[in-house]
């Protein structure tokens, strides 16, 4: 018997954390891992985050894209017309993801041991008292050579704001829009075009991330019944057709309903 248990949503420390959580949960629950379930759960978490935080980390989306690619590769088998380069690229991405998940898991386990060390160490208190006053004469005079000018300089140093050495090391710009915003854009764009392709819809985007966001938005609209998606060749272009019907075309659609 399977009982659905409502678990308080934990705060995930990054995409690997989330993915590990989902995979391990699956393993424990049903001893069989369903990629489809995990991808859906991942996208669901992602959608929740996208609504909460516009500055959502790019990694989440990049990994979502890889997961979705792997999933679609499984769902749409077909050995002919395979672009070998793209096939290889997908293998590489998969292996990379696997390696990074393992590394992440390794350090999560290390952190648990460090926590044990810290807990033990927190229970002892070091003696830091120093020599007593009997040794005052031996103790070197710390203020020897101190002048009021040096003291003044010390004070100026202390109150001068320190230069921030932090560098922006993310090569990807922060996300300028969310999946929800992409859906909104597409909802105005698609009824005019009626029929288009994914490549066309993303032709003007420079950032891979923007493409991913649009892709997730299309998946969402597909689930809601607004569009039809067709991919003739695997890794080929995806045609997108506006159906003109939706669950409720009048009201705003719910974005956080990836499960299905």
């Amino acid at each position: 018997m399977k009982v659905a248990i409502e678990v308080a949503t934990p705060v995930f420390e990054g995409p690997f954390d989330l993915l590990l959580h989902l995979i391990m949960r699956e393993e424990v629950d049903i001893h069989e891992i369903s990629l489809a379930t995990i991808v859906d759960a991942y996208l669901l978490e992602l959608a929740k985050m996208a609504e909460l935080d516009l500055e959502i980390a790019t990694e989440f989306l990049l990994i979502a894209a890889t997961l979705v690619e792997i999933k679609s590769r499984r769902l749409l088998p077909g050995r002919e017309n395979v672009d070998l380069d793209e096939e290889l690229a997908l293998w590489e991405e998969r292996d990379l993801l696997l390696a990074r998940l393992l590394e992440c898991k390794t350090f999560k386990d290390v952190a648990k041991i460090l926590a044990v060390f810290v807990d033990d160490a927190d229970r002892v208190y070091a003696r830091t008292t120093g020599p007593d006053e009997r040794f005052a004469e031996v103790t070197p005079d710390l203020l020897e050579g101190l002048t009021i000018q040096k003291l003044e300089r010390g004070f100026i140093n202390a109150i001068t704001p320190k230069p921030q050495m932090s560098i922006n090391y993310y090569h990807v710009n922060p996300i300028r829009f969310t999946v929800a915003e992409a859906v909104e854009e597409l909802m105005t764009e698609l009824p005019r075009k009626l029929r288009t392709s994914f490549r066309e819809l993303t032709a003007n985007f420079v950032e891979r991330l923007e493409v991913v966001v649009r892709f997730l938005a299309l998946l969402e609209m597909y689930k809601q019944g607004y569009i039809e998606i067709d991919q003739v060749d695997r890794f080929g272009d995806i045609t997108v057709a506006w159906t003109g019907i939706g669950p409720d075309a009048e009201t705003n659609m719910e974005i956080d309903s990836y499960e299905g």
């Binding site: 393993e27 001893h31 386990d109 460090l114």
Partner: protein, 207 residues
């Protein structure tokens, strides 16, 4: 104690450690009491054992590269009552994970940490640096000349260990085979295997 270690040497070691404000390296003690370092290491170890055996409320321990007096962990409740701000600053899970990466991979840049954790470690690293558990240890020789980070003496004290070598080897933490298999299976590209898999589990359920 070894025959050539006088009572005075042992007492001198006790006196020095008692007035020290931070862990005293074995070499410094050796120099002060004019004995070989190896002997002092032994003296300190034996003192530690004898305090424990006598059931004292204090210990001698080797922490962050030196020896120090500290209260016995059993008595933490009393000491915490006495030291009003005895509550130690707690480290978040994110802080511990970041420390774990830095401890084992140092010297390491922020970017490298970011790529392992999958999230921006900036805020966490600022906290860790503010508490002096990590510090810049140099610059990368590469084109970006990224600041490279390492752990500090205070980190060793926070963990109560004498040196980084007291950390368990990283090989201890390699995820076990079942998890590796689960991850691999989940991310498998080939659909045939997935079918096989579910067939197998059908079988299992039928039994």
């Amino acid at each position: 104690m070894k025959a050539d270690v006088t009572v005075e040497t042992v007492r001198a070691v006790e006196a020095i450690l008692l007035v020290a404000q931070e862990p005293v390296p074995t070499d410094l003690i050796a120099q002060l009491v004019e004995m070989p370092s190896a002997t002092i290491e032994q003296v300190c170890g034996q003192l530690a054992a004898s305090y424990e055996e006598a059931g004292h409320g204090f210990q001698i321990a080797k922490v962050a590269g030196g020896w120090r007096f500290q209260s016995h962990p059993d008595l933490a409740p009393y000491v915490e009552r006495f030291i009003l701000d005895g509550q130690r600053a707690r480290l978040s899970g994110a802080a511990l994970e970041t420390l774990a990466i830095i401890a084992y991979k140092q010297p390491i840049s922020r970017l490298q940490i970011a790529s392992i954790r999958g999230v921006d470690p900036d805020a966490v690293m600022r906290t860790l640096h503010g508490r002096a558990y990590i510090a810049p240890v140099g610059r990368d020789s590469g084109p970006g000349q990224a600041v490279m980070w390492g752990t500090t003496q205070l980190f060793l004290e926070k963990l109560g260990i004498a040196s980084l070598e007291d950390l368990p080897p990283i090989a201890t933490f390699v995820p076990d085979a079942s998890l590796v298999e689960a991850l691999e299976k989940t991310l498998r590209l080939d659909p045939d295997e997935v079918v096989e898999e579910s067939a197998r589990s059908d079988e299992a359920e039928a039994q």
